[in-house]
């Protein structure tokens, strides 16, 4: 647990340094809380990709609370800010990556736009579940992108789990169907289905995802049990649209995985998304290594930002 927190902090160092440093600097320049200070905080939030609307909401709340709680000292505003951010992030059911093992395999479908880190995340997840002693099967559902199947095969090998694949350009729904059949027959605990990256604006490709889901549903009830959307932490406001449209198309996304937080991207987009959709962030990607995947926890996320 301690080790995990440390990793989270390491992963978030870039985010934190920038954030905390800038807030500190801003606060030090003021001897009272006024509109100029609030405007500086606003810019800092914008800079982290929180987005105009959510930023305004947070700043408005700060303004209200400084009046209500008679906060005068600029130092105190940090605690308020942290409070507000945690409230937005934690306002939803605490995410859990512990899968409840039902009868039959627990099926997870992974979706998202191109290049966000779906396949890598699946590799990391497979390794993690395997370490927990579960049996894992991967489905190479990206039959479109060149060498996508080979990429997942390499990850399957790294994580030491099995994979079901078809040919390039095969019907992804058929791959998923076969994989689920295999998963049932082999009695595996968890089946994770990779899908081709697609822009949420392509109606026909979104249909294809729905078809995969429908096809799975023919074999077993309530499948897939989870649909995860992978979002690239460097993405700006568009991530919100992505989350929204995939959420609608899939009849509900069960969680978000936010990747590439090992760069300088601030990941502030998480706030706007959890603010507008009640979908929890479940995991974050903090590198390309097989164990660079961490559970997302709203409180430690914000704590790590502000400590």
């Amino acid at each position: 647990m301690l080790g995990m927190l440390k990793r989270l902090r390491q992963g978030l160092t870039k985010t934190r340094e920038n954030f905390v440093k800038r807030i500190d600097q801003a606060i030090r320049r003021y001897d009272r809380i006024d509109e100029d200070l609030l405007e500086e905080l606003e810019e800092i939030l914008i800079q982290t990709d929180v987005g105009v609307e959510t930023t305004m909401k947070i700043i408005d709340r700060l303004r209200e609370r400084t009046v209500e709680e008679r906060t005068k000292k600029p130092e105190e505003i940090q605690a308020l800010l942290r409070d507000e951010m945690a409230a937005i992030l934690g306002g939803h059911s605490p995410p859990s990556t512990d899968v409840e093992l039902t009868t039959g395999p627990h099926v997870i479908m992974v979706v998202g736009v191109n290049g966000v880190g779906k396949t890598t995340t699946i590799g990391k997840m497979a390794a993690r579940y395997k370490q927990e002693g579960k049996t894992v099967l991967l489905a190479a559902g990206d039959t479109f992108r060149a060498a996508a199947i080979e990429q997942l095969e390499i990850w399957a090998h790294r994580a030491d789990v099995d994979i079901v694949k078809h040919q390039q350009d095969a019907d992804p729904a058929a791959v998923a169907y076969d994989a689920l059949q295999a998963a049932i027959a082999r009695n595996v605990d968890i089946l994770i289905i990779d899908t081709a990256g697609r822009l949420h604006t392509k109606a026909n490709l979104m249909e294809e995802l729905k078809k995969i889901k429908r096809t799975l549903g023919k074999l077993a009830d309530g499948v897939p049990h989870e649909t995860l959307i992978v979002l690239d932490g460097t993405t700006g406001q568009n991530a919100q649209t992505q989350a929204k449209i995939f959420h609608e198309a899939m009849g509900g996304i069960s969680g978000i995985v936010l990747t590439k937080l090992d760069g300088t991207a601030k990941g502030g987009i998480v706030l706007s998304i959890t603010d507008s959709l009640s979908v929890p962030v479940k995991m974050i990607g903090v590198g390309e290594g097989i164990d660079d995947l961490q559970d997302f926890d709203a409180k430690s996320f914000v704590d790590a930002l502000f400590e």
Partner: protein
């Protein structure tokens, strides 16, 4: 592409246009809205701030407060600043007189380097050149294979060294091979990396030193947020890149990264990627894009596209109609039929001035929607098509039942058409023949 931004701009500017006299206060108010529009489009906050300051200075300098047409002056200032920021003309790649020209692709993970490499190769091949692709991404699983598959599908050779983990050697040897084999273009597909990863950035510098690329292209995801500035600045500082390729611009990305990157690096965006297929690469036209951001549509591109995929006569007729303001529902239908040949409906609509993309969002622009539109128009009488304003309530009901749609569908189509017509009127007034699309809508 720049939809949201242009929608916002549109409403801000519309408001300004209506102003009789401007005060410094309502200039500030509208500029605050422009700033917000820019931020929502992911333009970096510093760039947005500077932009606003410059516009204000420009507008005041031009005497906007005393002007009889202050709205126009303001819009002019916004437009000029936008063009200044984005650069005027398209920047093509520089090819060497003595081949091979070496192009090095760099960028973050997942930004689309390999696909862009394939697209460039296809473009060169079509120009009758002999490109060689170099698989220098030795890190990501199956990256080499991905490039090999692309190369195979394009019938373009791909150089790789089996088992090698040294991209510098791979690139150097590839260059030698290219010279021996008389390949005139060499494209290096390097691994994605974080700009803060010092070892990996040093590797790029070593490759640069070893092969001396003529064009270093930074590939950036068009959906990138505020961080685009950090990424572009670092890559540019360390490698002195020659230009950028903005990818995934076929979605609804607001594309603010384009403005940010250009502003902090002063390096041009050379191409944009507009699809997963290998032909989905377009030269970037900043001047046209500026108009597009301001909601004017990109008529030049539209007409060019029309010329490429429709016969000249039709394109000319369209241009003529736009100018003479005689565009009616009958033309709209003909156009719908043609349009499916020109690309996705969204793309086309984005290029037509004044088409409100928000209104379009509800109506899914898929095949089905096209068929529906066509069915509705076909259920109208010729007279109705020529004079859509005679279509009253009972006619709407008849048309709806005739086309198997709902009255709402009919209403929506008429609304869309109405908007289009209005914009075209405005354009018609300002356009002299042949200058289509270059003017501002006032």
């Amino acid at each position: 592409m720049f939809e949201q931004l242009s929608d916002r701009m549109d409403s801000v500017l519309k408001h300004l246009r209506g102003q009789g006299k401007l005060t410094e206060k309502n200039i500030d108010d509208s500029l605050r809205q422009v700033r917000r529009a820019l931020l929502e489009a992911d333009v970096n906050f510093k760039v947005a701030r500077e932009f606003i300051e410059n516009v204000k200075e420009k507008a005041l300098g031009r005497g906007v407060l005393k002007s009889l047409t202050p709205g126009q002056q303001m819009i002019g200032a916004v437009h000029d600043e936008l063009v200044e920021l984005m650069g005027e003309a398209a920047s093509p790649l520089t090819l060497m007189d003595t081949p091979p020209t070496v192009i090095m692709m760099v960028g973050l993970q997942g930004s689309g380097k390999t696909t862009a490499t394939g697209k460039l190769a296809r473009m060169f091949k079509q120009q009758g050149r002999q490109p060689l692709l170099v698989a220098a991404d030795v890190y990501r699983p199956a990256a080499v294979k991905q490039l090999q598959v692309l190369g195979e599908s394009l019938d373009v050779p791909v150089f790789s060294i089996e088992g090698s983990e040294d991209p510098i050697t791979i690139c150097s040897v590839a260059l030698q091979k290219a010279k021996q084999a008389y390949q005139d273009i060499v494209i290096l597909d390097t691994a994605g990396r974080l700009h803060v990863d010092e070892d990996m950035m040093a590797e790029l510098q070593s490759i640069k030193k070893a092969v001396g690329p003529h064009e270093i292209l930074l590939v950036v995801d068009g959906m990138t947020g505020q961080d685009a500035v950090n990424v572009a600045e670092t890559f540019n500082d360390q490698l002195d890149v020659d230009g950028c390729i903005l990818t995934k611009m076929d979605g609804d990305a607001r594309g603010g990264a384009a403005l940010s990157i250009r502003s902090v690096t002063q390096k041009p965006i050379k191409f944009i990627g507009v699809g997963e297929k290998l032909d989905a690469l377009e030269p970037f036209h900043p001047d046209r894009m500026a108009s597009r951001i301001l909601g004017m549509g990109d008529v030049v591109s539209l007409v060019e596209k029309a010329q490429a995929s429709i016969d000249m006569d039709e394109a000319l007729k369209l241009e003529e109609k736009l100018r003479k303001e005689t565009f009616d529902l009958e033309d709209f239908r003909t156009q719908l039929k043609q349009v499916s040949k020109m690309g996705s409906m969204e793309d086309i609509m984005g290029m037509i001035p004044g088409v409100n993309k928000n209104a379009l969002q509800g109506a899914e622009m898929d095949e089905g929607a096209m068929a529906r539109l066509e069915a509705i128009i076909s259920s109208m009488t010729l007279n109705e098509r020529r004079k859509p304003n005679i279509i009253n309530g009972s006619r709407r009901k008849r048309i709806a039942s005739g086309s198997g749609t709902t009255v709402q569908d009919v209403n929506q189509l008429l609304k869309q058409f109405n908007m289009m017509q209005k914009m075209m009127k405005r354009m018609g007034k300002m356009n002299k023949p042949g200058k289509l699309g270059k003017m501002m809508p006032f």
